[in-house]
Chain length 327, copies 2
């Protein structure tokens, strides 16, 4: 009995030690990992000058390019294209109407030639006109089956293992983790809890307007083809304030769309942590920055150093990129 | 040593029992309390047909008239009037401009004669044009010092003790508690955590637009004199969906402004709980319903029964109204 107890205590201590020694096993022992651990240890140490009470430990993460891949185009764009194809029989007019016609011909480049305006037009045509429950089911079904054209993986298998570890590590240290993405809030919520451990109420994103209605005695929230909020660039601090109501102390992003979120987070008083994922790994993922149409990182690359933000090189700082998934 | 341990265990069990026996001491042993306990027990009992996993235990509460008093006018209106008086020296034009002129003369009735339009005009003049940090300080200072004209209490002392117990009881049972109010989101957040135990990220309310700006190298979020969202009536399910992204299973309100929130909550699948606080206690609080300009309860009173909502009579079902506060 005594021996068993001692064994139990010893193995518990060993396990605790092992965790304390390496809470981030997919990260190399380079500066980013060391910086993160040093930050978490000081803000969680009671009595330390940098101590932050648990309710104020708010961490925000961009999604596209920060928690999962975003090349050759945002995964939500693949979803939009698939929806256009699925809905085409109900929209014979799309055959002659851009950008829909190009999508139906499989000509992605022409479909995206209209830039943000074309993308919003396609989003409205595919993301509105149904109830929120119906849209949730459409997203869930797509995410469970659609495959990435290059890797052949489910999109949710293209999340970054090292970032899953950061999310879990922060939560284990009393942080509340939020997603703050330019992507659609209702495109992420159906799977963010299962994949990232982030519940719907901690997902912030771009949104369209909705309307509450009772139809045939059945209450529903209807999705309207009208923009409500763009959660990108200077919109990210606004979205954070609207949803969270406090300034984060930890922010991670990967593109200049995250610049203001990092700036807002790290310019607050006390200990703060800003991190930029730099896509440097053409072999295991993708390599792009200043010249990329998706996830352009230019100003952030110039200013990370002087602002004290931790720049993460996927190639040099990550031991693994995607999780090992068993089918 | 052994005795001490047994004593410890015994007293722990007693404490647990005492809590299990009466988690809501300020509620009389009438139907509302019994209904609430029966609901919480069935949704938290694993293996029960009505079991709800903890992450889906979302409870939403209106604020004015549900968690604190709202007579003779919304407490935020007192705040607005006090702000108009404080800002008057910087606005000499207000002396001749309604509704400001009436406020400065102390003529509340005329000031409010313009209805919602006048109230919004006054809110814009007093709630915008500063940073979010500055506004938070203004609200915090006011809440710490302003007194209700009838009771002489701080406004935060006019919260309902029985409802504080409901919030704590639900949280002890794995619920996440949210405020969903027609009042200003940034008017509630500075004190909701301390008073209700509800953190800023779980406060939903009406809002004005904001803008992120870097002024003289200092990032700030500026409050703009433009409406963003009205979180009332059919806006409440919309606000709930936008912020929480899942349908609550528990909703409490007191006026017809909460009707759609209760309808949306209780028409979902599985066990649901809807509660309406009926202001029946002119002696300890206020008595009003169908004819009141503030907190009108008419349709809710008619339909509560057939919709299975629990109607709470303040006079008959509450042993106490306000908390006992020691100064």
């Amino acid at each position: 009995m005594k021996l068993t107890l001692i064994t139990l205590i010893a193995s518990t201590l060993l396990a605790a030690n092992a965790f304390a020694a390496d809470p981030l096993p997919s990260w190399g022992d380079t500066a980013p990992k060391q910086n993160m651990i040093a930050f978490v240890e000081k803000v969680t140490k009671e009595g330390s000058a940098d101590f932050v009470p648990a309710p104020e430990r708010i961490a925000v993460f961009d999604n596209d390019g920060t928690l999962w891949s975003e090349q050759p185009m945002y995964f939500q764009a693949f979803f939009i294209f698939d929806r256009i194809k699925a809905l085409a029989p109900q929209h014979p007019e799309w055959k002659d109407k851009e950008p829909f016609a190009s999508v139906l011909k499989g000509d992605v480049k022409s479909a995206l030639a209209g830039g943000e305006k074309a993308l919003i037009e396609m989003a409205m045509a595919t993301h509105a006109g149904m109830t929120t429950d119906e849209f949730e089911k459409i997203v869930s079904d797509w995410v469970a089956s659609a495959k990435h054209p290059k890797t052949g993986k489910l999109y949710t298998e293209m999340v970054y293992q090292p970032m899953l570890e950061v999310l879990a590590y922060l939560r284990a240290n009393g942080f509340k983790t939020f997603i703050v993405s330019g992507g659609g809030i209702e495109f992420m919520r159906p799977w963010a809890e299962k994949v990232y451990g982030v519940p719907p109420e901690q997902v912030i994103g771009s949104s369209i307007k909705t309307k509450y209605e009772v139809v045939d005695g059945k209450p529903a929230i209807i999705r309207l083809p009208e923009l409500n909020f763009i959660d990108d660039k200077a919109g990210k601090p606004v979205g954070i304030h609207q949803h969270i109501g406090r300034r984060p102390i930890f922010a991670a992003g990967n593109s200049d769309g995250d610049f203001q979120m990092l700036e807002w987070t790290t310019s607050g008083k006390g200990a703060r942590f800003g991190m930029i994922i730099h896509h440097t790994d053409a072999e295991r993922e993708f390599a792009y920055d200043r010249e990329s149409h998706i996830g352009k990182l230019d100003r952030g690359l110039d200013e990370a150093g002087k602002r004290g933000w931790t720049l993460v090189s996927m190639k040099n700082d990550w031991r693994a990129v995607y999780p090992v998934v068993k089918h």
